[in-house]
């Protein structure tokens, strides 16, 4: 009799333990999936947000729609220290020493600010074709230890008035964020295209979304008054953008059991740091 009771209790315990383990396994799987989508969403918000934060003024925002945008991502900032030949094809730029590699790709460009303060404007973006070696002086000026000069050769016309020494300059690569599918990668992903390379899967999968509000990648654009601008942005509106809202809905790579994939929505409002003021 005692043995029968023990067996019964053992059976019950085994059943409970099995249920607990199964529940725990499911819980861990769900939590893992949640971590995955959360991390994906955070990564998108962080990385895209970081690049948006540094968008330059002028034509720094190249195009903006509800689910894609193209921006100029500066590689380096500097100041013009000499304008050989009136700046028709080359400029000498002083920049912080020990900066990033400046080897240009097919779409690397540069732009120069004309004027200062509220009246400042930017030249056309022109294609950077060559970067000279590091120099410790620029024209007649010997640079301080923390700076180095490079001769930047470009093709195309800066337009407008020739820039003066001291004008801010940035070297950039155009970067596009959009959604799309890629061979060998399941589902819809956020893609990033930098320079002349093709679109690369960047983060995902994301919600394909049947309605505008449920799409996996959404952008909204605001001017200095906080008013939302209509998309796709017109050329005039692109210059007005001071804040961009990024909403991302990421999915886990697969569901748990019979459940659908986990979904995470994350959003961030990014003030464009280089567009301070009106």
């Amino acid at each position: 009799m005692e043995l029968l009771v023990a067996l019964l209790i053992s059976g019950l315990l085994a059943l409970v333990i099995f249920q607990l383990l199964q529940g725990q396994g499911r819980f861990v799987a769900i939590q893992g999936a949640r971590e995955e989508v959360q991390q994906n969403a955070r990564a998108v918000v962080e990385l895209v947000g970081g690049e948006l934060r540094g968008v330059p003024g002028g034509a720094g925002l190249v195009q903006g729609t509800e689910d894609s945008l193209t921006i100029r991502v500066p590689r380096v900032w500097g100041v013009l220290c000499a304008v050989p030949g009136g700046g028709a094809t080359t400029l000498q730029v002083s920049m912080p020493a020990g900066g990033p590699d400046l080897t240009p790709t097919d779409s690397t460009g540069l732009a120069v600010q004309i004027g200062t303060g509220a009246g400042a404007t930017w030249t056309n973006g022109v294609r950077l074709t060559a970067v000279g070696p590091k120099q410790t002086s620029c024209g007649p000026t010997t640079l301080a230890a923390g700076a180095e000069a490079h001769t930047l050769t470009f093709s195309g016309s800066l337009g407008g008035t020739a820039p003066d020494a001291g004008a801010p300059v940035y070297v950039y690569d155009p970067v596009t964020y959009r959604t799309g599918t890629s061979a060998g990668v399941d589902g819809l992903w956020i893609q990033r295209r930098s320079g002349g390379s093709g679109s690369q899967p960047f983060a995902g999968p994301i919600n394909e979304g049947s309605t505008a509000d449920s799409k996996g990648l959404r952008f909204a654009y605001f001017d200095e008054t906080g008013a939302m601008l209509a998309t796709p942005l017109s050329a005039a509106d692109r210059a007005k953008v001071r804040r961009i809202r990024l909403v991302v809905r990421t999915l886990s790579s697969r569901g748990v059991g019979d459940d659908a994939a986990q979904e995470q929505t994350d959003s961030i409002d990014i003030f464009l740091r280089n567009r301070v003021g009106p």
Binding site: A6, W77, P96, A97, L143, A144, A145, A147, G166, N274
Partner: protein, 407 residues
């Protein structure tokens, strides 16, 4: 025998309850551990995200805080400025990207300097941001009104022997056209100037009298005010070194930061052709101890201001402007390429004598004071550069060119 067997099976120690309980405990422990691990991973992820986000804004705060503090202090230079944000130490490194050319705006000289700033946590780990900012400095210019080899504000000028003043008619000395050898204050009695015919180019009388002559020549500043702008000061002047001797020997072979390196005057000292100090034009001010005469030997360039009496010893070579408020004696064998401004008695010694300290020695050759417009201009530019260097910095515009340093 039966009793001893029973002692191994005491009441309550038969059956499987204990193993079952232990098994249950193990299972519960596993479940709890798994739950803890899952939740701690969540916490770690959230903490990392929070730390990353906070790091960005802390770095930004340190950068803007540093700019604000530099604006309040009205000074910025190539340096790392420490800051603390939320208990975390930060360092904001400022580097001069470009000192733009000095421009004139109304009656001011203005210089805009572009700085690159990078804010990083003191630990070296964490997010870093950078930006650029422009500092603007402005001064009322040090505008010298010097038009001849000697600008004299005294009646007592003695030109004995073969000492002479030469005009800047030598094209190699950066002068065009005829200029007077000497310009004197309006109320100087030129008839009292001995051997005036030794002054090549003649003597010209200024429209300004003796009282305002110093201020006129020094562009609206008194000699004392001009001395305040000096980068090297000796004697009783603010920030000056104590004069322990009246004999000062300027030597361009000394390190640049030496207070007795007054630049290397190329053109009158052959070895200066390859000396880096040939581009160094300091402003030197000396206030003589009461009742003393400063004896100057060696070579230099820039602007030299002596408040008190002075003697230029034989072999003294100077390119730029020498201003002496007290009695000035120029020994033979002295060379000044630029201009000599004498505001009290001026004596050009016979060429055959020189005084070094208290010992007179015979020398050969004549003293030479040659007007050099370029040397005067360089000395003036250097003086203005020094004034600008020490002028307050304003930051009229916010930071620009913001970027996050790629991790």
């Amino acid at each position: 025998m039966r009793d001893s067997k029973r002692s191994f099976h005491r009441l309550g120690e038969q059956g499987v309850a204990l193993p079952l309980a232990l098994l249950g405990l193990v299972v519960v422990t596993i479940l709890v551990t798994a739950a803890l691990m899952t939740s701690s991973t969540e916490v770690a992820l959230s903490a990392a995200h929070e730390a990353g986000t906070r790091g960005l804004y802390d770095a930004e705060t340190a950068l803007e805080h540093t700019v604000a503090r530099r604006a309040a202090a009205q000074a910025i230079t190539d340096a790392s400025y420490p800051d603390t944000v939320g208990g975390t130490p930060y360092s904001v490194a400022a580097a001069v990207l470009l000192k733009r050319p000095i421009i004139k705006v109304d009656s001011f000289l203005v210089r805009r300097t572009s700085y690159s700033l990078v804010s990083a946590p003191g630990s070296g780990r964490g997010r870093r941001v950078g930006a650029m900012v422009d500092a603007v400095q402005q001064i009322l210019p040090f505008g010298l009104h010097i038009t001849s080899g000697a600008m004299v504000g005294t009646d007592n000028v003695k030109l004995p022997g073969k000492s002479y003043v030469i005009t800047g008619q030598d094209s190699s000395s950066c002068s065009t056209g005829d200029v007077s050898g000497m310009v004197v204050a309006a109320d100087v009695d030129t008839s009292k100037i001995g051997m005036a015919d030794e002054v090549i180019g003649g003597i010209e009388q200024s429209s300004v009298d003796k009282l305002g002559f110093a201020s006129f020549v020094l562009g609206g500043r008194s000699p004392d005010q001009a001395a305040m702008a000096a980068s090297i000061k000796w004697g009783n002047l603010p920030g000056a070194r104590t004069l322990t001797t009246n004999n000062l020997y300027s030597d361009p072979t000394l390190p640049r930061d030496s207070w007795m390196n007054w630049g290397c005057p190329a053109g009158i000292i052959l070895s200066c052709a390859t000396d880096p100090d040939t581009a160094y034009y300091p402003v030197v001010a000396i206030r003589a101890n009461p009742g003393s005469e400063i004896h100057l030997t060696g070579s230099g360039q820039g602007v030299l201001i002596v408040i008190g009496d002075a003697r230029l010893n034989s072999g003294f070579r100077y390119k730029g402007v020498v201003v002496v408020t007290g009695n000035l004696t120029v020994n033979g064998g002295t060379s000044v390429l630029g201009s000599l401004v004498a505001l009290s008695d001026l004596t050009l010694q016979d060429s055959t004598y020189s005084t070094s300290g208290t010992t007179e020695t015979a020398i050969s050759g004549s003293g030479e004071i040659r007007f050099d417009r370029c040397s005067v201009q360089r000395a003036q530019d250097a003086a203005n550069g020094l004034l600008l260097d020490s002028a307050p910095s304003a930051f009229p515009e916010p930071t620009y060119g913001w970027f996050e340093v790629v991790r």
